[in-house]
Amino acid sequence: MRDIKNFSSEPYTGSWSNAQRQHLLNRTIFGSTAKDLKAFENKSLAQCIDEIIEPSPIPSPPVNYYESRVEDTTGVKEGETWIRAPYGDGSINFRRRQSLRYWWVQQMWFQERTIQEKLVLFWHNHFATQLEVYGRARFAYEYQNTIREHSFGNLKPFVKAITLDMAMLDYLNGRENTKESPDENYARELQELFTIGIGEGSDYTQDDVRAAARVLTGHYASKSTQTYRFNGNNHDTEDKQFSEYYDNTVISGRSGQDGQYEVDDLLDMIFSKEEVSRFMVRKFYRFFIYYEIGPKVEAEFIEPMARLFRDNDYEIKPLLKAFFSSQHFYDTAFYGAMISSPLDFMVKTLRHLEPPLPTLEENVYANYSVSGVYMRFAETTQQYIGDPPSVSGWPAYHQTPLYHEIWINSDTYQKRNQSILILMYNEIRRDGYRVVIDVIKYASQFSNPGDPNKLIDEIAETLFSLSIKTELKSKIKTDILLSGQSNDFYWTELWLDYESDPTNVNITLPMEERLKALLLYLMSLPEYQLI
């Protein structure tokens, strides 16, 4: 089992082939499709990495798709965004929350070929909040926008922005944290889950948690105006004494509006601890490389990466660059060694199969609600976007000893396969719109789809990081593409017939049926679960 050979954090200079590019894509975007692989085909590692770690622009915001079902009484018209609108009522807020989640899935689905969306998911898991708990759709939009703005930037201002984020202020009781009744909830998680962690090297005390809570008093998110403000009156203006762990730092109390800047002093103190860099690099490691961190990985990879992170003053982008350029990352032991998360599984399937989606102009309701079907596939398999199960994020990213194996049990595994079945058999319908997968178009992107061996080889290479047995490929060729015939030519002939008469249903239907069965079979293999 100890088959990791290279632990080095130094830049990778080995073979740069499809296998490496696929690994990079699988781990940084949602699935590596044939198109992705083609786009990277003639690019060097450095070029690929530069593309991957380039931030995408902030997307246009989610809109009112629900008008035809629930009237928006705050004046937001169909197709217009609600993000600056008044709260309205519970029913409208509920629709807006759905709007945001569906929209979020669309961001992943139609992502650029960059790490942006996976990084947003990473940070959502890291700075976890639960939309079902804090409730406000507007907060949820601001929250994920905070993440988008900072995801490639500097960790310290990022943590500050999250600390003052309305969703977080509500979720971890920051808005109730006052000098009269300090609430330690956020102050604890800030250290325990967001920056320093627990365990060795994390010897902050209960008094430190309390002192930090006092520093953070007065920051407030108003539910009525849906805005953030600092209430100087609620701020604790006394000095805050920290423990030996923080070198007995004293954060001087400030009064009036000046009180809001004590948070900067607090973050300066926290970021003076090297442990922040280690804790964060481990977090990246478990999300993007592998869940187990042995002593050798700790010493030879985590430690140098943490140093690099510190040396770059906690700039995230250089860390990502070093991370995905490292020798360790490209060790073949990691190829296909991770179980995809439900969102990864769902979105990569969408990116492979490219089901059509009506545009906002054509049918705004169907555009959102069809995306909602995909969101729900992930939700029912334990990853509900916007709602990790707790402030610790999804257990699969941190829970020993199973980690990502937690995603798969007899219920979720079956549902994953069921979702592919529903998609493949065109059973997604919303508002008169039916999603029809064009499997012929899918097959057409390969080099020689008329050759059943080549077609299966290339599809398998695209879908899986691991190779599947030749005997299995030959069996499914005969069973599925050839309907039991022993001569490959019958498939070739069908494909040639199709090329000369592409609209003849006598040809396209038998082809579609076989291609669907083939994809259904391949996407139900355990190999398809792995990235």
Binding site: E405, D411, K475, S486, N506, A517, P526
Partner: protein
Amino acid sequence: MERRKFLKHVVAGGAAPYFLSGLPLSAFGAINEAALGDDKVLVVIQMAGGNDGLNTVVPIDQYAKYSTNRGNIALKENALLSIPQSDKIGLHPSLAPLGELFEEGKANIIQDVGYPDPNFSHFRSTDIWNTASDSDKQVLSGWAGRYLANNNPDFPNSYPNEQHPDPLSIQIGSVLNTSLQGPVYPMGMAISDPDFFYELLTEEQGETPTTLAEKELAYLRQVAKQTNQYADSIKKAASSVGGQLTYDDESLSQQLKVVARLIAGGLKTKFYFVRIGGFDTHDNQAETGDTSKGEHGDLLAELSNAVLSFTRDLEQLGAQDRVLTMTYSEFGRRIKANGSNGTDHGAAAPMFLFGEFVNSKVFGENPILPSVAGDNESVPMQFDFRSVYASILERWFCVETPQISEVMLQSFQSLPLVQGAPCGFITANEIAEEKELPFKAFPNPVLDFIKLEYLSDGGVNLIQIFNTQGQVIAKPVYAQKPKGWHTDIYDASRFPAGSYFIRWQNNAEQKILKVIKM
């Protein structure tokens, strides 16, 4: 209500059930309770590639024509296997093991099964047979799948359940046969191969993982086994079966061995589909010298050995009364052999049924062979394959007529392929001996007009005219006709000169005549 349920209800109710369809119940003879239970099974053997019907069931009444047309793949007359059901046919010698079943009355033959306007593409024709569509129509669901969906409208929601603990159908193979595709979902479970089945039983682990990825694969496979909703019921069924007979090592035998075990283990699965491939015998079909050898002979031997072992195994397991087995292939082959010791894609071909309750005879007559067949000449259909399916639904699964039409998408001729007992029918030939069928077409040869005379027994009468490629080129009669003789005159003057087949059908009877157009 299904006829069977009605019957069962009546019997169990102890009322005085004298009449069913106007016949006294006693006329049905002994009703086999086991066969009446809800556990009847159809096993379907797909012979993929297009089985050469003329070298499977040889029309020995026209041996000389057969031999001329078949050239160096013609089977020797004295090598053919004769069966008690007919002295007009001889079976391929490789079918010898099936001879036993014919002797015991556990097998039948349906001659020249096909469909109008045959398609010669494997894919298309396979789809036509599986979906039971017309040749020019596209249907996406399968005939058995529609039947299962009809009875299980909520599937797959909350399946398996108490009432349906087992897979509705099982395919041995990577993917379900299209026959089992319901209007929306596949209506069954595929067991990729017998090895997988035994792995499921023994919970055998694959190879020990040596890499990080293999560790996850092993984990996923383990969960996949648990995930298989039917794993428990399959394991339970399989483990309740004691010793099985020895089968040979060929693939079909091994597939049927699994099927026998599951049936005997009491699974309530209705359909099992298995497959034997390789019937696309464009060349090397028969060896020069000994024509009974060669690829076709090998395949038929594999088929017949498998079916015999399967039958004997079911008998010793006590499950024989529950099982009907059917063979089919997407088409037959041309009448004339090609130049490579083989045959090219054709049209109609015989089907076999096996089981305790088959009506053990040869249905239909021998195809009418030309002295010298044209290159494209095929055996025309005598029976529509969909009337075989419909008759099985009716006489084996005891499905009522309206549902049959719904499942089969239209009405088809009902054939007494299965004995009456399972569904409480009286089959025509169980009452009376066959008589010469009353259909005449003359003059022959035809110049322009053709006179069609037929004796209707009431109900729909259908007359179709086929060309030698099996295409329906005219339908002179398709109407309800009262009992008695009827005469129609048809103007065939537009037909090009050549051979034609005229098929008349009325209820369970049909007759094909060959006429020459001058």
